[in-house]
């Protein structure tokens, strides 16, 4: 049995001298960005340096103060807000879920995991059998003691036949759950999955008490109990006195949505709310300039892309056409101009530095009109105008096309960017038009992301690219527990998409939220807003 307690590169793993330097930088008031810059110059990956900074910052920061109230403003909320973890669909659900519930594992900023309600997590050598030893002495809000039955009940809701869980695909390889004893459960997998504990740390796998069917209130193990919950109105949490761990520092934590971005910004700038999600890129300079207001940005793997259907007979199926498109992307301009620097360059493959399995040595594809022109000439399309359907599905989704069309015109290539409304875009245009845009959120692991959208048989395989070697490697790598081998396989997978898939992926966008300077205990898990919806546990007020 090999143990996977933690795959997170932490401060403790640094050589002593390096640690001194980072410590010193932090004392001098270096920002997260400074430290990461230094560490990356020294050869660490982004994810690793971020985790190290958190380690230092955490050790150096004042002890959290108790008390006070925070109001955290999300965006769209409405009548389908729910307290049933398996039905969570939106960022407000995820954040609220973290206030009230706990999960077996907790995700770290580098997308590794730490044990939470599980104390110890063990797998066999092929990652087909996972054992979770549960922590003792944990209480639900109603006083019930947490044990294996609760885990069995929760997990079976995701894994049973006819499950309505929104996350059942993340655990589709789990054949069955077995209760070993009152404080130990085991997952028997039908195919290997070395990342199961990461999946179980995501939003939908919050542990509920055995037999729960009424979700009008939340009975979880989280740091706050539900004092008020009205769908589309508000959720209020008050500290749970018997919370088993550190956290839950506030007297009251309130969360609701303000759908309109301008109103949300007004409310934040006026101090009516203490933090807001999805700061519009245009407002970033305004927040940066304001006293006592900070941008809370998470480097994420979310992206916009242009996907040609490469199995069609028309131009979209012509290899030279999509290669020309990839060389016409002005990636720097997109990140600087449209995302206001709150993003990173895309490299025509989905796994960027925010993922644990990012392959950093893949050469960056850059704007190269000459190469584009050469490919275009090879394609034989001449001056034919090529239609690309675009909708404002995310910042940069339309601009990636218009910027490309502008570069293309300079070398005599014509694109016709047809802008349509976002209403019904996903049903009527996406996966149907020969060439169209898309926007993707980040997924917890590289494997989940690639399985969802790049495996030959995936329902959301936008370009219909189907490479046997890729499909096989993607499945095989799930059982690989040797880090070097695993890294090599993920490097191959990313290279294959970069070379052959056909989509242009010019930019990854950060999650950009805004937060008052008095709000401390921020997390940086790159999966969602408000620090990956992991922050409710650790948030506290400096001026409480």
């Amino acid at each position: 049995m090999s143990e996977f307690k933690n795959n997170d590169p932490r401060l403790a793993n640094l050589p002593y001298a390096e640690r001194q330097i980072v410590d010193e930088m932090h004392r001098r008031g270096a920002s997260r960005r400074d430290v990461i810059g230094y560490m990356m110059a020294a050869g660490a990956t982004f994810a690793a340096s971020g985790a190290i900074f958190d380690g230092v910052a955490h050790a150096a920061a004042h002890m959290p103060k108790r008390g006070g109230k925070l109001i955290m403003a999300g965006d769209q909320h409405g009548p389908n807000d729910t307290l049933d973890p398996q039905l969570f669909t939106s960022a407000v659900d995820y954040f609220r879920g973290r206030m009230f519930y706990g999960s077996l594992t907790r995700l770290t900023d580098s997308l590794g995991y730490e044990p939470e309600l599980a104390e110890e997590i063990l797998s066999n050598d092929t990652a087909t059998e996972w054992t979770f030893k549960l922590r003792r002495g944990i209480e639900f809000h109603n006083g019930k003691t947490f044990n294996a039955d609760d885990v069995m009940y929760t997990m079976n809701r995701h894994s049973m036949e006819g499950s309505i869980s929104n996350a059942s695909s993340l655990v589709s390889m789990v054949d069955r759950w077995e209760k070993v004893n009152d404080y130990e459960v085991r997952a028997i997998l039908s195919s290997p999955n070395a990342d199961l504990p990461i999946a179980l740390g995501t939003f939908h796998f919050k542990i509920i008490a055995d037999g729960t069917t009424d979700f009008s209130t939340a009975n979880g193990t989280g740091p706050y109990r539900a004092a008020e919950f009205k769908p589309g109105v508000r959720a209020v949490g008050r500290p749970f006195e018997n919370f088993w761990s550190e956290g839950g520092y506030l007297d009251e934590l309130e969360h609701y949505g303000i759908g309109d971005p301008v109103s949300r910004l007004n409310a934040f700038m006026a101090g009516d709310v203490d933090a807001m999600v999805n700061l519009p890129p245009k407002a970033i300079p305004q927040v940066e300039a304001a006293a006592g207001r900070d941008v809370w940005s998470l480097k994420s793997g979310a992206y916009v892309n242009i996907a040609p259907h490469i199995k069609l007979a028309g131009p979209s199926g012509n290899e030279h056409v999509w290669k020309a498109m990839q060389h016409l992307q002005d990636r720097e301009r997109l990140v600087k101009g449209v995302l206001k620097g709150q993003g990173s360059l895309g490299n025509d493959q989905p796994i960027n530095a925010a993922y644990f399995d990012h392959f950093a040595d893949l050469p960056q594809r850059e704007l190269d009109p000459d190469k584009a022109k050469w490919h275009w000439n090879q394609s034989g399309l001449g001056s034919t105008s090529l239609e690309i359907v675009a909708a404002e599905v995310a910042p940069g989704a339309v601009e990636q096309c218009t910027f490309m069309a502008r570069e293309a015109r300079k070398v005599g290539i014509n694109f016709d960017v047809k802008k349509v409304t976002t209403d019904g875009y996903w049903g009527a245009v996406w996966l149907k038009a020969p060439i169209c845009v898309a926007s993707w959120n980040m997924r917890p692991t590289a494997n989940i992301m690639m399985t969802l959208a790049f495996a030959g048989s995936a329902a959301w395989n936008e370009t219909r690219w189907n490479n046997e070697h890729f499909n096989q490697t993607l499945v095989d790598v799930r059982g690989v527990t040797d880090p070097t081998k695993r890294a090599q396989m993920y490097a191959d997978l990313q290279t294959m998409i970069h070379e052959e898939n056909g989509m242009s992926l010019p930019a990854h966008r950060n999650y950009v939220d805004a937060v008052g300077s008095h709000v401390k205990g921020l997390t940086h898990v790159p999966l969602n807003n408000f620090g990956g919806a992991e922050s409710p546990v650790t948030l506290w007020r400096d001026d409480a």
Partner: protein, 316 residues
């Protein structure tokens, strides 16, 4: 008088029934039925048929209509398709906000604007009248979000008074703290309805002022304020009450922009969310509630007009 009121109630009922037909038919014309939407991607032919049978969607439309209308009358609005929460509960959470804002706006906005309009009618052509006309026309022309933005800019971001969105719960708040709770939405809406009310009340009073019996009163030397409040106002109450009722109905049903802008959940937002998530049950239920609001308020307005104007009670 009573027979008139009964007749008027009868007309109201006919309107309600007609509207209920339209709402029901409207949601049936749209592609996809409730069963399909509830099942979503999991819809197969078999479970779709089963779900339809369970929801009674396999029966003829007429029977479906009567079941739905019967349930509505007994207060059973059904459950939201999107969230499976009883509609009455979703409405209860939001009705408070909507009604409080509507009532507070009416209490503050209506008397002030009526008074201003009548004063303008007392001195037609004066500087006061001209300025008021100019301001009210500008307010009619400016959309709610502009008014709201200017108010937030001026008060919240400029002077640091009040809140840019509605924060917190209304529970246990008294009259004045409720006003400060909803301060900016109330102000915005007061501006919107004031512009209409000022112009209508001014026009209604001026209209009566030109009639012969007022001229007689002027010739007799009755003081101007007495002419207006004693003689002219009673005769112009009919049209004024009508405008007030229309504005009140608007405050309950149509303030979506203000609700979204100030970030508080209300009924207008709820019906828009219902349309977006294709939640037919919710759209039908709220549509009927809005219809009833209009019909009842107009009924009250008409009865008030009858009471104030004998000529309406005894048509020739």
């Amino acid at each position: 008088m009573w027979s008139l009121i009964l007749k008027r109630i009868g007309v109201g009922l006919v309107t309600v029934v007609a509207v209920s037909f339209i709402i029901f038919a409207g949601t049936k014309i749209l592609p996809g039925d409730a069963a399909q939407i509830q099942l979503g991607q999991n819809a197969t032919v078999e479970n779709l048929a089963a779900m339809r049978a369970e929801m009674g969607l396999d029966k003829p439309y007429l029977i479906q209509y009567f079941t739905w209308a019967g349930n509505f009358i007994t207060g059973d609005l059904g459950s939201s398709l999107a969230s499976d929460v009883p509609l009455t509960q979703l409405i209860a959470d939001r009705y408070q906000n909507t009604v409080m804002v509507a009532v507070l706006t009416a209490l503050i906005g209506v008397p002030i604007s009526l008074l201003m309009g009548i004063l303008a009618a007392m001195f037609p052509g004066s500087a006061y009248d001209r300025v008021l006309t100019f301001v009210s026309v500008s307010l009619v022309a400016s959309p709610e979000f502009l008014t709201a933005t200017l108010l937030v800019l001026l008060f919240v971001l400029g002077m640091g008074i009040g809140t840019a969105v509605v924060v917190g719960s209304t529970e246990g708040k008294g009259f004045f703290s409720l006003i400060s709770h909803f301060a900016l939405p109330i102000t915005t809406l007061s501006f919107v309805i004031a512009s209409q009310l000022i112009r209508m009340s001014r026009a209604a009073v001026l209209n009566v002022m030109s009639s012969p019996y007022i001229e007689m009163a002027i010739l007799k030397g009755v003081p101007r304020h007495r002419i207006i409040f004693r003689h002219a106002l009673l005769n112009s109450i009919g049209p004024i009450v009508n405008v007030v009722a229309l504005n009140l109905a608007y405050l309950v049903t149509g303030v979506i922009v203000v609700e979204v802008y100030f970030g508080y959940p209300g009924l207008a937002t709820l019906i828009v969310q219902g349309v977006q998530s294709r939640d037919f049950v919710m759209v039908q239920g709220l549509g009927m509630i809005f219809c009833l609001t209009y019909v009842i308020l107009m009924l009250i307005a008409d009865v008030a007009a009858y009471a104030s104007n004998p000529r309406l009670r005894h048509p020739k």
